[in-house]
Each structure stands twice: as C-alpha cells, then as structure tokens.
Amino acid sequence: MNQTLHIFAKDTRRFLPEILILLALMAGQFGIHTYLFATSAQNAFGNSDGSVQVLTVIFFLLSVLIPVGWWLLISRVVHEERLVGDTQFWITRPYQWKSLLTAKLLFVAAFVDLTFLVVQCSMLAEEGFSPLAEMHKLLLNLLLITLFYLLPLTAIAAITSNFARMTLTLLGALLAIGVAVAIASLLHGPTISMRIGNRILFALAMAICIAVVVIQYARRKAWLSRILLVSIPVLVCVLAWIAPDQRLMNRIYPVAAAGVAASVHLSESLDADGAPTPTALTGTTNQNGNEYRIVLVPFQLSALAPGEGIVMEGLRTTVEAPDGSRWSSPWQPFGGTYLPGDTQSVVNFDIPVAVYEKYKSLPVTLHLDLAYSRIQAGESTTVPLSREKFSIPGFGICALRQEYGALKCFSAVHQPPLTLISTNLPGRPHAANVHVDQGSYWAGSIENKTSGANIIPSVDFSVTSFRGADNAGGILRLLQPGTPITFTPYQRIDRAQSSLTLTNFHLPTQQEPQQPQQ
C-alpha cells in the first residue's frame, strides 16, 4: 500500500497541471449548467438570446472536451510507466506490479471518476434532485462510463508507448469495430437477438480489456495483449455468424407451454361484419442493398389482465406456401405499448421483393411470432399541474410550460421508468390509474437501467401531446394549473412470445396505407 500511495503521490505531482485543467473544464461545465438551468434556456425551445446560445455551444464543447481530457490524462498516467518496450526506467526498480496497477487505478478513480461524480451530484442538486437519493443511478452511470470508455482507453494505453500511438491505435480500433459491426449486420441482419448478443459481446469485450490491463502490468506481454484486443472485432463477426437467433429468443421470450394459455391472445382482425380487416402494402424499404416490400397486417389482441399491459419488442414472420416452401424473417424490432382495452393493432413486416413476387399470387400460411414484455402498474402519484417545479417520486421533476404548450420533465441520469402520464383533458372525465383513450402519454422506458452512460446527469423531455386528443391547437395550452395529473409507473413482470397464424392468406397487392388503430 505504501508503494501504491508513493506512486500515486508522484503521479499527482507530475500531472497537477493536467488535473487542474480537467477540473477547470468540469467547473466550467457546472457553472454553465447552473446558469442555463436557472434561465431554463437549455430547454431548446428556440427563443434563447445570443449569450445563452453561445453558452449552450460552450457547454456542448465542454461535454466533448472533458472525455478528451480523460483520454489525455489516462495516456499520461499510464505512459509515465509505460508497459511496452524494454528501456523503461522502472522495470529494473523494485516496483510491485500490483502496487503500480493499483496506483494507476487509484489515480483514474480520484481524478476522473470521483471528480465526475462530484460534478454530477452538484448538477443534479442544482436541478432540484437529491444526489443521495439518486446515488445508485449515479454510481451505475459511473460504472458504465468506466467500463465503456475509461477501461478501453486504459487497455489501449497499456499496449502503446505514447499518446500519438494510443490515438492511432484507438482510431484503428474504432475503424475495425465499425467494419466488424457492418459485417455482423450483413451476416445477421437487423435482428433483435443481436441486442442480447451485443450484451454478451460487451461483457466479453470488457473482460478482454481487463485481462489486457492485468497481463500488461503483470507480465508486459504486449504481443499477447494486442492479439486479445484484436480478437474483439473478430468476436463481433463470429458471434453474429453463430448467434442462434431463434434459440436465443425462445430462451429470453419463452413460448407458453403446450396446454397453457399465452398471457396475450392474438387473433385475426375482423370488421363489424365479421370479415377480415384488409391488409395492405405500405411501401418499400432498402436494407443492406436489398429491396423489401412492407406489408401491413391488422390483428386483435386480448386476455390482458387488469393493471397489466404489454410492450411489444420483436416480430418474426414466416410465410409458407402450399408446396411446402417457406420464408422466415429474422427477429426484427417491433414496438408498441398496450393496456387492457387496447384490442386492435397492426404489424408491418418487411419481405424481400423476390419472396413477395414468388408468393403474392398464392394462398399462403402467414405465421407471426411476437415477442413482448408483460408490464404491471405500480403505485400512481397524482399531483396538481403547476408552473412551478413539482417532483414525482421515482420519475423526476416536471413543470407546466403553457407558453410552449408543453409539460417539461427532467429525470435523473437515465430515462425514467416506463410511466403512463394521464390527465383530465378539458371537457372530459379524469381517469386515474387506468388507461383511457384520451389524455394519456407514455414516457420513459422499461430498459431505463441499462440505457447507457451519460455525461449529462439528467435527461429532459417534453410532453406536448396526448394520446387520442386533438392536439392540433396544443392541448397543454388549455390545461390550467391545478388540474390533477397522474403518473403511473409500469415495470416488467416477465417476457413471453405469442403467435398468430393466418391460413389461406393472400399477400396484399394494393398499396393502401392504413392508419394504425392503436
């Protein structure tokens, strides 16, 4: 420990100018943030005066410069006792590698992580949040920044000898990963199981970065470390190649066992006369150089329990011809949030033009697999609308901005949890805690805890319209302060799959754009 502190103290003295510059950048960011927040000018409604616009640009620049400063500082502190080469002064001195590594990590923790955390806490406090109450989110965000950004930088610094080489290596690494992602996309298509694959890949990449740092400090085997880092883009391609799309989806979104009713029942959409609602072609799209037709198919859903809902997340389409030939799409993103009472929906699926032309004149069997998350309502909070800031526990801080026709909200660090905001629209009855067609707005995400690393400590968004309402005149302009508004959080219960099979189905040939009925 003595040696760790001895090296840490030396590095602190050596890089005091760099540390002070970084602290000045962060102090500047905090100062500008405070000013902009106080004047509410960062709301970006477009009517800011000149000085505020300049400060907004400077704030943005600082948000870029600070990570660049981290990059420089990590390069300086790691290259001070560089790990590549055989002429370093320290390798024939009584350095303990664990002490050296710990000293470097301590340096990054003290002058990057800790200062960042302090500034984030200060900004949050300025916005009206309690930093202590939001500490778990701040720490998670810090962990993500450390893993996403600081760890790869440290690993690259550990295999290079100076800042210039580190920069070139970093650019090369970004290029290699970009190429690998492009190849992966060609191999696997825009499938949502790759999101899960990406998580596995991220975990592997982080493990490789950690291994590289440890190997370099313990053994200084630069060639081995470089091979390990090069393996990351290779892994991207390999994972995309071998990823078992359907098995992965079945594992994450289980299919209801035989004899057990699915939590959501899907059926063919019928009109008032009992006839199938017409399908339509809604256009064409181009993916990876291939042209696709977009087919719209209405469907009905039922069996949603009271207080529950579903969030659609993925769609897989299979078309089977009478001769037994078939075409299946990969799992593709598909969105939409449904509550009890929502019965009608549509899917848009992409089908390659060649496949479409082959099957369009045949009666086929259309099989739709839908992957979704079941969500459950939590405890609602109803507060009167106010032009002053009001706090919604677990959600954030909001204020009614009638002059802009918006309800402006801030959430600490990440997107808020998926929340239904409902209110009593003028001339309509108020409905709290249950979904109504009018006066509701979905905010946030069920994935809020893994929404990535943020440099800015809060996420802001504006509610400018309500579902089902006539928003043309700006419905929020009509709401009066004091009107009750209800925030109902939803959280995921589980994930599941349901399917819909339509026999004797004819692919539509008419381009008749239809409005989604949800």
Partner: protein, 311 residues
C-alpha cells in the same frame, strides 16, 4: 567463492539470428567483471536477459541466487542497473527523481546520496530532460548507487561520454567497489582495463573466454624473434601462437598461452638460429585485437580457454 552471476548455456535467438549462444558465465562476489566485445557481439542482449528484460530462448541464469525469470519487484532492491539505452523519468527534476526512488529502497543511504550528488555536481533543481547526456548518466549512477546494491550491472555506461565525466563515474564506482560486485559491459577496452578484476570476451554471441584480468595478462605476450636471415612464416606453429607474421628478419606473433620457461624453450627449439627473442606484456586492447583478428574470418567462433590453448 560464491557466484553472484551464474549462467548455464544461456541463449537468445531473434528469428534466425543467435544473439547469445550458449553462454556459461560465473562472476564471483566482489569482482569487477568487464564483459567486452565488438559492437553487435550480444553484450546488451546478455545483460537484458540477466535483468529479466528479455527472456532467454534456452539455458538459465541466476543473479544473487535468484532465477532471472523470477527477477521482479523487491529483488531489485539489491541490484543497480544503468544502461546507455535506459530511459529516465525525463519530466522529473534530479532531486525529484532521487526523492522518488528513495521511497522504493529500504537501504537508501541519504549520506551517500548527498555525497554522490556533490561528487557528480548534479543540479538537483533541473529537469532530467534538460540535462546533457553525461549529466543524465551521472544522475542514473547516483540513483543506482545510493542504496548500496549488492550487484551493479552497467551496460556501456561510458559510451559517448567525455573523459572527464568518464573518470568521475569510474571514481564513483571504485569507491563502492569493496562492498559490491560490478558487472560492466563495454567495447572501450582502455577505460575498463584500469579497474576490472575479471574479464570476459563475447563475440558473435559466444563467450570466447572469461577469467581474471591478471591471469589473462599473464598468459598473453607479444613475441618478437629476430632471425639470422629473412624467412617466411613457418608451417606447423602451435595454435596458441596467434597472428604470426614476418617482416624481413623479424617474426612476430602473440603467444596466448605464455609460460616463461616453456615459451623460451619452444622458441629456441623452433628457431635455433634466432639472434634475439623478446616476450613483451600486452595491453588489454592489444590482446583483444589479436583475438578478434585471429577469429575474424573463421566460420564459427569457438570459446577459447587457457587450458584449450595449452592443450
């Protein structure tokens, strides 16, 4: 006597090149061992293996009884290393560097440090990157001597330095010599001849010999034979007689296995008509030039020991 440095068949191969080839070396405690050889002989590679900077391809080495592959961390408490190729913390001042290194060594001697700073006239407040090469080397010496290491390994420490700096450094070394073992590599023979107790000669990665300086000096003589009449170099001369050449009536060669009585007898037997014979001691430089020239051109250098030469 214990060996502070001991190697067995130590080898290092870079691609198809044998930089060091089967070196067996033993440096006794308290010795000032000079490893000499031409540029590219493998001296730096050998030293880097001793310091665990490079891993041997084959063979093994021990420093202070520790396998060099295990030579990390605290083991360097007892070893000082200065190399012409080694970096220094250039951003630090001389004083800052000494302060910093002091924290690593339990045996750091502040008095000796002050003495070395004064002796080398080191500017404590100046950054290392602003120092001349000679001053940097002095700073490196001070930082490697102040903790009184049991072994000091020096790789071409005087290369490119002016004579004054060289003398100052040698003086600093000699003052520490009674309590330490010094292993020094150099291709400048004159500078190490004055203070080395042992010497080893490395050429093309092979250690041609390794012995005490006095023994080496004792077994080499430049022999001048004045003949009665001009004659070519006779055939069948002993292998230990290196570089025989004639000029008019004079035959000269280097006897690499000199023994006073045996040499006089051998010369008398081979040249009965010789009018005069002289056996002159040789400088280290002359010895190595003779060895180098006699080996240059041969397909593969083989180690020479006094015993082999005598045989």
């Amino acid at each position: 006597m214990n060996s502070i440095i001991h190697t067995e068949s130590l080898s290092k191969r870079f691609g198809h090149t044998d930089a060091v080839n089967g070196v067996d070396l033993a440096v006794p405690e308290g010795a000032i061992y000079a490893l000499v050889g031409p540029n590219g002989a493998g001296k730096t590679t050998l030293i880097k293996m001793l310091m665990n900077i490079l891993r041997p391809t084959a063979g093994s080495a021990q420093l202070l009884g520790i396998d060099t592959r295990q030579l990390v961390g605290q083991a360097f408490n007892r070893i000082g290393y200065v190399s012409e190729n080694q970096d220094l913390p250039e951003g630090m001042t001389v004083g800052g560097m000494l302060d910093y290194f002091r924290g690593f060594y339990s045996t750091w001697d502040r008095t000796l440090e002050r003495q070395l700073v004064a002796q080398f006239d080191l500017p404590l407040a100046r950054k290392l990157k602003h120092l001349s090469r000679g001053m940097k080397m002095k700073a490196a010496f001070a930082s490697s001597l102040a903790y009184r290491p049991k072994l000091i390994v020096l790789d071409e420490p005087f290369s490119g330095l002016d004579p004054l700096v060289r003398d100052e450094l040698i003086e600093g070394l000699i003052e520490l010599a009674p309590e330490t073992t010094i292993f020094i590599s150099s291709h400048d023979l004159a500078e190490i001849e004055s203070f080395s107790s042992h010497v080893g000669y490395l050429e093309q990665g092979r250690l041609l010999f390794s012995e005490e300086m006095s023994v080496l000096s004792g077994r080499f003589r430049e022999v001048t034979v004045t003949l009665a009449s001009p004659a070519p170099v006779p055939d069948g001369l002993p292998a230990a007689w290196l570089q025989p050449q004639t000029a008019d009536c004079v035959l000269r060669f280097v006897d690499s296995a000199y023994d006073e009585a045996a040499a006089a007898r051998e010369v008398a037997e081979r040249f009965p008509s010789a009018r005069d014979v002289s056996f002159d001691p040789m400088s280290l430089r002359s010895i190595f030039l003779a060895i180098a020239k006699s080996h240059r051109g041969s397909a593969a250098s083989q180690p020479i020991t006094a015993q082999e030469v005598e045989a």
